[in-house]
Symmetry: C2
DNA sequence: CTGAAAGCGCTAACAC
DNA sequence: GTGTTAGCGCTTTCAG
């Protein structure tokens, strides 16, 4: 017994078409009729069936979102950004993950074919770029939220990884540090290459270029961070105590994400090194963890929420007829200074 | 040009009805016809339109999920549990948050009325219990994932907060600790009351009941954890150094969540106290942060993923005709021992 | 075993 | 301005 447009029409003594018109504000209506219809809608508490509207209009008012996993610490931020704008525009958000591999993807593909949503927002799950590109080519509106530094063949929202790396370098230089250690993420990621390039460039501008052994390849994990510090300490001149003293291997660390920076922090302490006095540490991302380490982590903030919101806005604007931009939308990073580089903060 | 059931019917030389039958496995079909139809479906890559099926059947094959916010650290785990089962059953997950207050909720209510989904999973957003109860009463299948220790009037999935508190107490007792400090969460939460009751009961069984000043009211934040430790240290006998020595105020901490436990950890260190030698610390939740503190946090693991999955299974089973259980489904907590109570782990 | 026809609830030409 | 008439793509009686 849910009430339908027909009920409203009957109660108001008009046709379904008229009701539909006041609902969607189309055509010229007699003010009086419109008011009466609105009144009845109110009284009956009528709400159009999303499914029926979707079928009739050929558009669902739903945006799909595909993410690799829900359990990564920064995914929530992006999602909140997305959800905020999607909801406020009266759209629904249909969520998909790739947690169960092949099977997940097949299921997702089904939903695409089933026209369950009008457009797709995606944080690229490993190895699906080709598939997504295909969907885009097939006419599905897609916006990529790029955390990998790809340059995809379709609209995307990204951040300034290179400038972020540079800002970390400049910060350390300003603090008087001269021997940095860089702990990278997986080097196949474009973002990692950018962060490294930005850091290295900015550093060389100081006149002291970096040596190869100052870059350690990590894997974005906590353990990876610990391990990098351990091996850096192991391999340095045993006669020279680490820290700011002359001869020590490094006086600062730039980790490519906060998680490995947190690992570095722990390992440094385990070796009796003080942060930031002996070694200053800078992370990347600004996930919640960053403000909950001890000392709190100076880090390059990624505008995750903003990226999610921007991607959603792009897609929704497209539904209204605006073209999707051919070039990536780039949101700037910003350096957040905390205790790991600045005593007392 | 999306291909429809009519296309398949035409190509296979049968009626739409027949195609529909092979699609849904209803009625007795001639094996040969069925095979032929299946063949055509395959060739054409036909997938039924979700919207059309929904309209015709009156069911959307979508489950709605309402959460307070996406940015809490443990929400992701629950969501992943939900998504895993929802997806594997061929359903879609429509996500809603209450981030924008009243407005969010109104929008959500619309979607409910619009019959956008068949049933609802909810992590109760503050102050919406009445509204949810109403929806349930109105006939919408609802399962609550209860993080607050409510005893709602509708199906829910919860965890053993009381037993979890007790396990923390027993662990500390076994380690020989005798003067615990408890840092609670907001006391209006049922789960906080339960955790406290469980801890206190188990502790009194040891023969040494707890004093009121051993319980500090916190707020589930990092700062709250730091603050609690600070005031505990401030208020103790200035002549008695803290730690395990006689006369010191406490030799262990049970924080009601990991975040405040991490705060406690930091503050203890700031005062020169060693964890776990001087003070052992136990948290609650087992969020990712717990394994990334230094030392890593012993904590009471909440089966968040399992709770999400269980809730989803309950709802889906209900769609198949099973009744929803009248009594809460309870999943057990488990104690995860790490370095904050056990040196070397 | 299979098909014709009538919806599901709404929108969109096209008349009046 | 407003109503009539077809659909949107699928399911489901009801015949045959």
């Amino acid at each position: 017994m849910p009430i339908t447009i027909a009920d409203v029409a009957a109660h108001a003594g008009v046709s379904k078409t008229t009701v539909s018109r006041v609902l969607n504000g189309k055509g010229e209506l007699n003010a009086a009729t419109a008011a009466r219809v609105r009144q009845v809608i109110e009284e009956l508490g009528y709400v159009p069936s999303a499914g029926a509207v979707g079928l009739a209009r050929g558009r669902t008012q739903i945006v799909g979102m595909l993410v690799p996993s829900m359990t990564w610490p920064w995914i929530g931020e992006v999602l909140q950004g997305v959800v905020d704008v999607v909801e406020s525009e009266g759209f629904g958000l249909l969520l998909f993950t790739c947690n169960r591999g092949e099977e997940s993807l097949r299921r997702f593909a089904q939903q695409v074919s089933a026209k369950s949503f009008d457009g797709l927002l995606v944080i690229e799950p490993e190895g699906t770029l080709d598939y997504i590109t295909e969907l885009h080519a097939a006419g599905l509106p897609v916006v990529l939220i790029d955390d990998r530094g790809h340059q995809p063949l379709f609209p995307s929202v990204a951040t300034t990884d290179r400038a972020g790396g540079a800002s970390a370098a400049r910060h350390l230089l300003e603090l008087g540090r001269r021997r940095p250690l860089v702990i990278t993420g997986p080097t196949s990621f474009g973002c990692v290459q950018e962060r490294l390039a930005g850091f290295t460039e900015a550093w060389s501008e100081s006149g002291t270029p970096m040596a190869a052994q100052q870059v350690l390849h990590g894997d974005f994990t906590y353990e990876g961070g610990r391990h990098a510090i351990r091996s850096a300490l192991d391999s340095q001149d045993p006669a020279a105590p680490p820290g700011q003293g002359p001869g020590s291997a490094f006086d600062s660390v730039f980790a490519h994400n906060d998680l490995s920076a947190a690992g570095a922090l722990a390992e440094l302490r385990a070796h009796g090194l003080r942060v930031p006095e002996d070694v200053a540490v800078v992370g990347f991302d600004d996930v919640p963890l960053a403000s909950q380490t001890d000392p709190a982590l100076t880090t390059v903030h990624q505008p995750l929420r903003g990226m999610g919101a921007a991607a959603a806005r792009l897609l929704l604007a497209h539904f209204r007829g605006d073209p999707l931009p051919g070039t990536p939308t780039v949101l700037p990073t910003s350096l957040i200074v905390r205790g790991s580089t600045h005593p007392g903060r």
